[in-house]
């Protein structure tokens, strides 16, 4: 009985040690935020590039969706990405908020000023990129 007790003791000690080790030194898990960072960078690059190409107002107009789609298709052709545009406060048109279903995404806006026949108009143009489900 004395011998069996020592086995039980060592088993209990072992279990306590094991639980303590797992608790205080958890298994290494890989967590990288790079895919999120690259997605953010892509959105910023694209928004900046659209502005450099002087196409912000053109792409913001609701009737020019095909032009915007052509640009995005050409730019991100080989990549499995979903994109959308958002336009707020553009004079003479309703806000465009067409966010598709995505698993993970990022969007950013640029504030632009346009000189129209009715005067200066300040509006927000945004694009978003995301990964499909």
């Amino acid at each position: 009985m004395k011998g069996i007790m020592s086995i039980i003791e060592v088993m209990i000690t072992g279990i306590i040690l094991f639980v303590a080790l797992v608790h205080f030194f958890p298994q290494y898990s890989i967590r990288s935020e790079w895919s999120k960072a690259f997605l953010m960078q892509k959105v910023r690059d694209t928004l900046n590039t659209i502005d450099r190409l002087n196409k912000t107002y053109e792409f913001a107009k609701s009737g020019n969706k095909a032009e915007f789609e052509k640009f995005m298709n050409s730019t991100f052709k080989p990549e499995a990405l979903i994109w959308w545009r958002e336009v707020r406060d553009l004079d003479g048109q309703a806000d465009i908020l067409e966010i598709p279903p995505i698993s993970e995404g990022y969007r950013e806006f640029i504030i632009d000023v346009v000189n129209t026949s009715s005067g200066f108009d300040v509006y927000a143009f945004g694009i978003g990129l995301g990964y499909p489900y």
Partner: protein, 178 residues
């Protein structure tokens, strides 16, 4: 002496040693994975830094495409006149092509010194035809080093930019592999 070393004591001792060995192997098995992740982080950071330098920095001197190559201290393609992000100059692209043959070892070593990166890397700048909707890529720069070792850890970064071609702004993409 015989009474001190019982079979129960021996079993307990073996069980304990087994447990210690299991815990050691369970943790040490993660070490190579951990080292690989650290290396990946390092390469990604360097690749991103280099892409940022090429896209958003004009270089030193900022008009390096107009001065003699002996005076170049750092390379960058950004347009120093506008100081806008994601806008590079075609004249710098042309000057780069004129000056560097990346497949030549001495040229590539000089390029590495000018961008401050000791690892081998390759980079490309493509013109993108988007107005016709084709998305065709025409290479403006193809810089492939003489000995690009295919490693397990490989990072590719794509940056969308506009470039100024004598006043005409066009769409391009910079692809960097490290």
């Amino acid at each position: 002496m015989k009474a001190q070393l019982t079979i129960q004591y021996l079993a307990s001792f073996i069980f304990f040693i087994g447990l210690v060995v299991y815990v050691y192997f369970a943790y040490s098995a993660n070490l190579p994975k951990y080292v690989e992740e650290v290396e990946k982080e390092d390469i990604r950071s360097k690749a991103y830094l280099l892409s940022e330098l090429l896209v958003n920095n004009p270089g030193e001197p900022s008009n390096w495409d107009e001065v003699i190559p002996q005076n170049w201290k750092r390379l960058g393609f950004a347009d120093q006149h506008s100081l806008k992000q994601n806008l590079i100059l075609k004249s710098k692209i042309d000057k780069f092509k004129e000056e560097f043959d990346c497949s030549d070892r001495s040229d590539f070593t000089r390029l590495q010194q000018l961008v401050g990166v000791d690892r081998p890397f390759s980079f490309f700048i493509f013109n993108i035809s988007w107005e016709d909707g084709s998305g065709d890529r025409l290479p403006l720069i193809e810089c492939i080093p003489p000995m690009m070792v295919k490693e397990e850890i490989n990072v590719t970064i794509r940056r969308i930019v506009a470039y100024n071609d004598s006043g005409s702004i066009k769409l391009a993409e910079l692809v960097l592999q490290m």
